[in-house]
């Protein structure tokens, strides 16, 4: 009979490194592409607005599971032998960007119109308006919903077990199925997830205070 031991705990923590790596990939890739999408959504060019809106609609309406499936199994049927980590990073980027793009578009739009007008009056170009006036104010508003979504992503990475990743949730399942001690196993899984997500929430609170959101 196998008892839950420190070996199992170490196994869980090692698996959690995948969860962290996948989350970081999603934040960086999704953040960069999401910003492009957000700016596209509020662009002065009609086709840019249309293109980013279509992208967001399609991806938001598609389960992450299916995106992951197409990236890993679909591309491999087309003859591209894609590494699991690349398929996962790509899918999480595609998925995260669609949501962050829409969240940030809302934040940009919630900056009062007078700020646009005032900055226009002092002769700033469109790029300068974004850089010095609009985005800094939008960023403050964006912190709480962005962090909220990041915490979701950390937990959503568990879906990558479908393409063979043994990340935290899947590792918990494997440990549980060899020890048959679900309670202790999943309590530790929960503690490790909490240890990853709580610092994000703390950081969010810190920045909110620092940037004085809602005054």
């Amino acid at each position: 009979m196998i008892q839950f031991s420190s070996t199992h705990l170490i196994y869980l923590i090692e698996a959690a490194r995948w969860t962290v790596l996948l989350s970081v990939l999603a934040f960086i890739g999704g953040g960069a592409f999401g910003l492009v999408l957000a700016l596209g959504r509020v662009s002065q060019h009609k086709w840019l607005r249309w293109l980013s809106a279509a992208y967001i609609q399609i991806i938001q309406g598609t389960p992450l599971l299916v995106v992951l499936f197409l990236a890993y199994f679909g591309l491999s049927i087309l003859g591209l032998d894609i590494e699991p980590i690349i398929a996962a990073g790509l899918s999480l980027t595609v998925y995260t960007a669609a949501f962050l793009g829409e969240i940030w578009r809302g934040c940009i739009l919630s900056v009062p119109k007078t700020q646009w007008e005032a900055s226009n009056c002092i002769g700033l170009s469109r790029a300068q308006q974004y850089r010095y006036v609009i985005l800094p104010q939008a960023a403050r508003i964006a912190i709480p919903p962005t962090v909220g979504f990041m915490v979701q992503i950390v937990k959503n990475t568990s879906i990558t077990s479908i393409i063979g990743f043994v990340e935290l949730a899947r590792a918990g399942q494997i440990v549980n199925n060899s020890t048959f001690q679900p309670f202790i196993t999943f309590v530790f899984v929960a503690i490790i997830y909490f240890a990853m997500c709580y610092p994000l929430s703390l950081a969010s609170r810190h920045f909110e205070r620092k940037l004085n959101v809602g005054k």
């Binding site: 070996t7 196994y11 499936f69 063979g164 549980n176 199925n177 679900p182």
Partner: protein, 264 residues
């Protein structure tokens, strides 16, 4: 999980099986000196991990023996229940030995060579009065949603049996241990493990449900590999080596002869 399986099947069928180029896989495996075998390590007692988290279980032993007899290295590909079919069809593994039940739905997209059986039983604590499937009437029975035990009991148990469907083995077991269900349906090997782990519950087998043939899964149009696997299983059935592995985990002998005869 049922949903995942459907998505998996639908997606792989939709994008087409034709993508994987046909060749003589058996010759390729020999040339490579390595066979990739997919196993789910979260499905005890077929695939699981030992105290040092090394792969263990009946399927792992069968896979190791197969690679050894073929004279190549064994490469383990870790899969889960729902992604066994896509891993196979997209060539990310050579074969699947992962408590893979032979069903007509799956047989449309993959080939099977039977090598074992999954014996499902209903078991529960000593105090619960169940002697046959008819006695399940009015009882609460835990099953894993959409699994074979769910579909079989839905068919075979009396209409007023309260089937309580959980997402996986872990929650079903927890429900039995905490008394939220009177009995549960699972492979016999799992009953053995649980009876050992929780002696205070005095678990005992209550009723037989079904014997489901399990197959080694391979891609279609691989006649050379299929013939070799078939010959290997027939030899293992005749010399008793497959039964020895089976008995170690399931506590009973394995009689493959009728299944092999039925799938000639």
């Amino acid at each position: 999980m049922k949903f995942l399986t459907r998505v998996a099947l639908a997606a792989t069928m939709a994008i087409g099986v034709a993508g994987v180029a046909k060749a003589d896989l058996l010759a390729d495996i020999k040339a490579k000196g390595e066979i990739a075998i997919a196993i789910d390590l979260g499905a005890p007692p077929w695939g699981m991990t030992d105290a040092d988290l090394k792969p263990a279980g009946a399927d792992v032993e069968v896979a190791k023996k197969l690679a050894e007899d073929l004279g190549v290295k064994f490469k383990l590909v870790e899969v889960t229940g729902p992604n066994r079919v896509p891993f196979l069809l997209t060539g990310k593994t050579d074969i699947v030995i992962s408590s893979f039940a032979i069903t007509p739905e799956r047989a449309k997209v993959v080939d099977f060579v039977p090598y074992s059986v999954n014996r499902l039983i209903v078991f529960g604590p000593k105090g619960v009065e169940i002697k046959s499937l008819e006695d399940l009437s009015g009882k609460r029975v835990g099953v894993v949603r959409g699994n074979l035990q769910d579909t079989e009991l839905t068919k075979k148990a009396p209409a007023d049996t309260k089937l309580v469907r959980f997402d996986d083995d872990a929650t079903t077991i927890t429900a039995l241990m905490s008394g939220q269900v009177d009995a549960m349906c699972a492979p016999y090997g799992m009953y053995l493990t649980l009876a050992e782990r929780y002696p205070a519950k005095e678990l005992e087998p209550k009723a037989e449900v079904v014997q489901q043939p399990l197959g080694i899964g391979l891609r279609q149009n691989e006649p050379e590999l299929k013939a070799w696997l078939r010959g290997w299983v027939e030899k293992g059935a005749a010399d008793g080596s497959l039964s020895t592995i089976f008995e170690k985990y399931m506590g009973a002998k394995l009689d493959l002869a009728p299944i092999l005869a039925a799938t000639k």
